[in-house]
């Protein structure tokens, strides 16, 4: 208190003038939080079936299934080769068995890739969980996620680059053949 002043007339410093850098920081922090909320809203509902993370983990699960099927097919074919080798006998049988053994060893890829994919999926699920917490914390509402992207009337070439479809969405060769013949 300044000398001679009444105790009820406490003069406070103007905080903005006193600490301009503090308010600048707070303004920047506010702008950053608004941007993060906007970015989160643009991702779409984090935990819905349509989220990018869910799509990624589903694709990776299908990778594991597909590589397992392929590895089993390879090993089944190897079993056939070994049966032939036992009929052939001699040096040829040894060579065939040697090659089959190499193939079996290489098929171990499926196990290793599967394990790595599980790690990736677990990481993605962890990130998804953290994003959900962040969404809740920042109060991003479903309305802010925006409307569902309208279906385009015409697809351009970039829209056709989707890679392998999920098992339940894919057309098999006979469906493709039917469509081709319908198209003339």
């Amino acid at each position: 208190m300044e000398q001679g002043r009444n105790s009820s007339e406490i003069v406070c410093e103007d905080p903005v003038s006193a600490h301009p850098e503090l308010f600048t920081e707070l303004a920047e922090l506010g702008a950053y939080i608004r941007k993060v909320r906007s970015d989160l809203a643009s991702i779409g509902p984090v935990s819905s079936k349509q989220s990018q993370i869910k799509k990624a983990t589903t694709q990776l699960d299908q990778v594991v299934e597909a590589t397992e099927r392929a590895a089993n097919q390879i090993m089944d074919a190897c079993d056939t080769l070994q049966a032939v080798a036992s009929d052939v006998g001699g040096d040829s049988a040894q060579k065939i068995n040697g090659a089959v053994t190499t193939i079996y060893e290489a098929c171990g890829f499926q196990d290793l890739t599967g394990q790595r994919i599980v790690i990736v999926n677990n990481t993605l699920s962890y990130v998804e969980g953290k994003l959900e917490e962040l969404v809740d914390m920042l109060g991003v509402t479903p309305e802010e996620h925006g409307e569902v992207q309208p279906v385009k009337a015409e697809l351009d070439d970039a829209d056709l680059l989707n890679g392998p479809a999920l098992a339940h969405e894919a057309n098999d060769q006979s469906a493709i053949d039917r469509l081709l013949s319908e198209l003339g």
Binding site: A70, D157, L160, L161, A165, N171
Partner: protein
């Protein structure tokens, strides 16, 4: 007309493993002259130097896709009649429609087997 088993065939895929698989299958079918490209732009270069009786191409390649390659071939006066089979994981109906509109000769969806490859080549080139 009998299929010339010595005619050059061009296999295009950015995965070398897939190029190897298709090339091996073609040799098993009896074709003897097979060129390979891992980029569509390279395939186009090869096509301007050598006349191919068939192009077998993947779709999902960058920067130039199999669809881009097909369109480039069909818009080239010298190349436009080259038979072109798309071998791709793209299995949605809109992909088939787009490929057909661009002039694809046939369409094989991955994964495929040797029998399917033979059937589709036969549909395009004739019995061999």
């Amino acid at each position: 007309m009998a299929v010339n088993m010595g005619m050059p065939i061009l296999v295009v895929d950015d995965y070398k493993t897939m190029v190897r698989i298709i090339s091996n299958l073609l040799r098993q079918l009896g074709f003897t002259t097979i060129d390979e490209a891992t980029e569509a732009s390279r395939a186009l270069q090869l096509m301007r130097v050598r006349e191919y009786g068939l192009v077998i191409s993947d779709w999902n390649m960058e920067p130039m896709s199999g669809l881009d390659l097909l369109k480039a071939i069909r818009s080239d006066v010298k190349l436009k009649d080259t038979p072109f089979i798309m071998v791709t994981a793209e299995s949605k109906a809109e992909n088939v429609v787009a490929a057909k509109a661009a002039g694809v000769s046939n369409y094989i969806v991955k994964p495929f087997n040797a029998e399917t490859l033979k059937t589709k080549i036969t549909a395009v080139l004739g019995v061999f």
